[in-house]
């Protein structure tokens, strides 16, 4: 690190978070940069574009106060993150500095924060159930180790409560599995920070967690680095120490805004809604760091949380995320208004890897059939609600009325649960069978006869 490098005082232009330096010796792409301001303070940055004529540097802490006389040093290496097992239970800033007043971390290793792509050949199939204790996830959109399953939320919805509940309750099966949570906050408010920290401390969840906090008033550019620091830590815990790591990232929307800001400062050709054309790849570089590796014990499971601007699921941020992640948990404002927590809209939610993680020996043999049936019946009931609004309940057939009642029952018994209610998968499935008794037998078209005989409670 303590390499002697030249200092340049040749900044020619400053724009947004970028500085342009000329007359340098050859500088490596993505090399780290240190900038000393006239008042003696230091800023860090990274090379975005390097040519013989000019080098473009992005400053992580912004360019406020930087002038043309600032001096620039190129550090000759890419950004590294010091990692150690002692990071568990600690809180770091968005730039990776400890902010909990504890001792500095003695690194066991320094890792490149960009990471590297897992060789698809080396990946192991995610197939182990993670129990979150939330029925709509475990029962209907099961999370498995190595999956990335985002929560699509929106302003004013309780996604943070759900994130905390998952962080607290999540468990893996298997006796000697070590479980850890890496919590990455990007652009959260000071109030949110206090809630998170208070909850982590109150429930003792901090003990098994590493927390990174980039606050709303921290420089936007730092937000681009924060998740990379967190994921590098997660990779170390998972693939070098063999832990089962759950990474919660909130709020991805703030991350994408930061990307757009930097892209605009670089005067790049914008893609949809001004977001850069490479946002898909950029998000993939984060999300694809989830996974399992053959012959390796650990795993990284991700729950990124994003708020959909204007509740619009087709907005580029949820849209591109949905194309990369393996499903999504969508929150519903309607359910929230009806006082249902967690307000998970199961119809538009999905877990692509669910089938691999459920069934005999994992959850229970009837799991798939039951959840398919719940989906179908709930969809039918929801359709009828629209109809009832027009023609009234009286003009429904007997069969339709049962579906209508089922939808209400489903929201009340399966979706609704307490903030501290930790439901096991068996409890969830039993509630499901209980409400299925409200339908006629011959409407249970998705379930094999043998499960009906075995599990359907006799009325």
């Amino acid at each position: 690190m303590a390499k002697v490098t030249k200092e340049y005082k040749t900044i020619s232009q400053i724009a947004g978070p970028l500085i342009f330096v000329k007359n340098t010796e050859p500088v490596g792409y993505e090399e780290m940069v240190s900038v000393r301001l006239s008042d003696g303070s230091q800023r860090r940055g990274q090379v975005l574009d390097s040519s013989d004529d000019i080098v473009v540097v992005q400053l992580f802490e912004g360019t406020t106060g930087v002038d043309l006389s600032a001096s620039v040093r190129f550090l000759g290496e890419s950004m590294k993150m010091p990692v150690s097992k002692d990071m568990l239970g600690r809180v770091f800033s968005g730039a990776g500095e400890p902010i909990d007043g504890g001792a500095a971390i003695v690194p066991e290793k320094e890792l490149d924060i960009e990471g590297a792509a897992i060789n698809p050949w080396a990946r192991d199939n995610p197939s182990d159930f993670i129990e979150t204790g939330i029925s709509t996830i475990d029962g209907m959109n099961t999370l498995v180790r190595g999956q990335k399953l985002p929560i699509f939320s929106a302003a004013g919805l309780p996604h943070n409560d759900i994130a905390l509940q998952i962080a607290r309750q999540a468990k893996v099966t298997g006796e000697d599995e070590e479980f850890a949570v890496v919590f990455i906050a990007m652009g959260i408010t000071n109030e949110e920070r206090q809630t998170f920290m208070h909850e982590f401390e109150r429930t003792g969840a901090l003990e098994r967690a590493v927390v990174f906090l980039n606050l709303a008033d921290d420089p936007a550019v730092e937000r681009i680095v924060t998740p990379r620091l967190g994921l590098t830590t997660a990779e170390y815990l998972a693939f070098e120490l063999g832990m089962q790591v759950l990474v919660i990232m909130t709020d991805m929307t703030n991350y994408c805004e930061a990307l757009r800001q930097v892209s605009a400062a670089r005067e790049e050709v914008p893609g949809r809604r001004g977001y850069p054309g490479y946002m898909y790849t950029n998000l993939a570089m984060l999300y694809e760091r989830a996974g399992r590796i053959k012959d390796t014990k650990g795993s990284i499971t991700q729950i990124p949380i994003l708020s959909m601007p204007g509740d619009d699921i087709t907005h580029p941020i949820p849209d591109l995320s949905g194309y990369i992640t393996e499903g999504q948990i969508v929150l519903s404002r309607e359910l929230h208004r009806n006082g249902i927590y967690p307000p998970v809209n199961v119809s538009s939610s999905l877990s692509r890897l669910m089938n691999a993680g459920i069934g005999k020996g994992k959850t229970r043999e009837d799991h798939k059939a039951v959840s398919d049936q719940l989906y179908a019946a709930y969809a039918e009931g929801k359709d009828l609600r629209g109809l009832v609004a027009i023609v009234g309940k009286d003009s429904l057939s007997d069969k339709d009325r049962k579906f209508l009642d089922f939808a209400d029952l489903f929201e009340d018994r399966i979706v609704r649960q307490g903030h501290d209610e930790d439901r096991s998968i068996v409890e969830t499935l039993n509630i499901a069978w209980d409400i299925l008794t409200e339908l006629d037998m011959d409407q249970l078209t998705r379930i094999d006869r043998k499960y009906i005989d075995k599990y359907l409670p006799k009325k």
Binding site: S78, W121, R123, Y278, E288, T296, E380, L387
Partner: protein, 578 residues
């Protein structure tokens, strides 16, 4: 051509500018001290702009650049099947052995294993007059007979030497033609289509085992289909089902900018599943190209061409090849990303103006053809499209639809009610209906096409009636219209819905598809008679046989079960007085 040396002038992401070389467009160059592979994509005066297939972090101006003077090629020959490659045909298992679980840059490995032994059996003999594409001999590769052909570079000639029966490695000389040594490896530039003797009209269906596709919207061997759908609608599941069960001889599956875990799924599942026709492991007929979304974007751009060239090579042996490209949108985005780095004038939504041209060039490589050897082969292309926001008016979908003749539209609202596959029967279409209709009539049943027309009519009628029901409720409909809704429901639930994960239901042979739809039609006919006799729809709709019919497709003895359903049906309608 001698290698030419230059230096790097500028590095910005995957795009590197070099000076001091004068290459041709799309020549392969090696960049930097680590000699990373790249391709020339633009030449401006003395500056050469290169897309690099690997991460460029740490690369500096002033580092060396070498021009190979050759375009990007793939290696074709024995050993392709069961292989798993990245976008530029580097075998991923070999990379793992070299570098461990993560992909770091700078590694190279040949596409074909140089150490593997192959049993070569000559077909041609010394003195034969031969021409490009003709078979020199064969090699047994798993269940497939891999034909060693005269490379296209030798138009005509006389065999001066040919190897005897025996074990050879891919780079051993197996023949000498016109004084040129021929090995089992052919190299072909990926961006050029391989030639064929004659393109034929596609009039034989690719059987997929999916009822909604085979019966309702069939595709021809050598045709091209697009599967657009918002995320979560099951593009990948459909692609994988096709890769598993379609009656192609060879499957080339390109995971282009998609999820790593999906590749893993293919890699875990395929070796365990067996080809319904040969009984051999599915992996043995598959070539997998995995360039996931976090792997270098330039290699993603190349992956589509790499896969297509491999598919064409097998077509030239006279095989039917199915090429799955998942997803062409990621490929288009890779083009957009590189185009924007080049600061080109953007077209619609930031995509380069040449997007439409590239897409049509790619889809036009699908064809059924007579090979130079006189046999018939085909490449059927099934391209997934991931429209931004699920909006089909976006440029990639629109430009694709102008070329392909089959459109399988995936629908989010079907997914929400767990109707799988989520192929919307009202918006999807096939333009091979007439040509393939003849085949179905001749090979399955006279009524096959008639049944399809009948079912489509019911489904269309249902959608009209649904609008009325939305306004006034189903109770106010006349009895026969209520029955139409019930029959449509049967078509949807029994016939169109199919469980890709169910042992029995995942694959439905054509004959059974015909029987199932005929049974629903019979039910409908009997119901019409019953209604004419004054029986209430509620009684008809709740006949016990319906439950049995619903369940039948999941039973191990499904065909017997369908016979039993037919019998029950007649009996129960008889009790209603029909």
């Amino acid at each position: 051509m001698t290698a030419e040396q230059g230096v790097i002038y500028r590095v910005a992401g995957p795009v590197v500018t070099a000076i001091g070389i004068s290459p041709r467009m799309y020549d392969v160059v090696h960049v930097g001290n680590e000699q990373l592979m790249g391709e020339v994509i633009k030449i401006v005066g003395d500056k050469t702009i290169i897309q690099v297939y690997e991460e460029t972090s740490g690369i500096k101006p002033g580092e060396p650049v070498t021009n190979t003077g050759e375009p990007l090629v793939v290696e074709l020959g024995p050993g392709l099947l069961t292989s798993v490659y990245d976008g530029i045909q580097r075998p991923l298992p070999v990379l793992r052995d070299m570098m461990g679980d993560f992909i770091f840059r700078g590694a190279t490995a040949p596409g074909l294993d140089r150490e593997a032994d192959w049993e070569f059996v000559p077909v041609a003999k010394v003195g034969d007059e031969i021409f490009a594409g003709q078979v020199l001999g064969t090699v047994q590769e798993g269940p497939m007979e891999h034909k060693i052909m005269v490379p296209p570079s030798i138009a005509k000639g006389k065999i001066e030497k040919i190897a005897d029966n025996g074990t050879y490695k891919v780079d051993d000389v197996i023949a000498v033609i016109n004084g040129v040594d021929i090995t089992m490896i052919q190299k072909w530039p990926v961006r050029n289509a391989r030639p064929v003797a004659e393109k034929l009209f596609p009039d034989v269906p690719l059987i997929t085992g999916l009822r909604v596709l085979d019966t309702m919207f069939p595709i021809a061997k050598g045709g091209a289909a697009a599967i657009p759908g918002a995320f979560g609608t099951g593009k990948t599941v459909t692609q994988q089902s096709l890769a598993k069960f379609s009656n192609a001889d060879i499957v080339v599956y390109i995971g282009c900018g998609e999820r790593g875990n999906e590749m893993t799924e293919v890699l875990t599942e395929f070796p365990e599943l067996s080809d319904p026709r040969t009984g051999e492991s599915l992996m043995k007929r598959t070539v997998l190209i995995a360039n996931t979304s976090n792997m270098p974007v330039a290699a993603r751009e190349a992956s589509i061409y790499t896969g297509m060239t491999i598919a064409e090579y097998f077509r030239d042996m006279g095989y039917d090849v199915a090429l799955m490209a998942d997803s062409t949108s990621r490929w288009a985005e890779a083009m957009r990303e590189i185009s924007s780095r080049l600061e080109e004038m953007p077209g619609e939504e930031g995509y380069p103006a040449y997007l439409a041209g590239r897409l049509s060039e790619f889809y036009e490589r699908a064809c059924r053809a007579r090979t130079f050897d006189g046999s018939e082969g085909s490449v059927t292309v099934i391209g997934a499209v991931s429209p931004a926001g699920g909006d089909l008016s976006e440029p990639v979908t629109q430009n694709t639809l102008r070329i392909v003749r089959v459109f399988w539209a995936l629908d989010t609202s079907l997914r929400e009610r767990r109707h799988f596959p989520t192929i919307n029967w009202l918006t999807s279409y096939t333009m091979y209906g007439n040509e393939l209709g003849k085949w179905f009539t001749a090979n399955v049943h006279d009524d096959f096409v008639d049944n399809r027309v009948w079912a489509m009519k019911i489904l269309q009628r249902e959608s009209e009636l649904q609008e009325i029901v939305q306004m006034v409720g189903s109770d106010s409909l006349p009895e026969e219209q209520k029955m139409t809704l019930e029959v449509a429901r049967m078509i949807r639930e029994i016939f169109l819905q199919q469980n890709a994960y169910h042992d029995i239901d995942c694959f439905c042979p054509l004959e059974r598809q015909y029987v199932m739809l005929s049974l629903i039609r019979k039910y409908s006919d009997l119901a019409d008679k019953a209604i004419a006799n004054g029986v209430a729809v509620d009684r008809i709709a709740y006949l016990p046989v319906r439950t049995r019919f619903n369940q039948a497709k999941y039973e191990a003895n499904i065909d017997d079960e369908l016979v039993a359903v037919a019998k029950d049906m007649e009996q129960q309608f008889k009790e209603l007085g029909v």
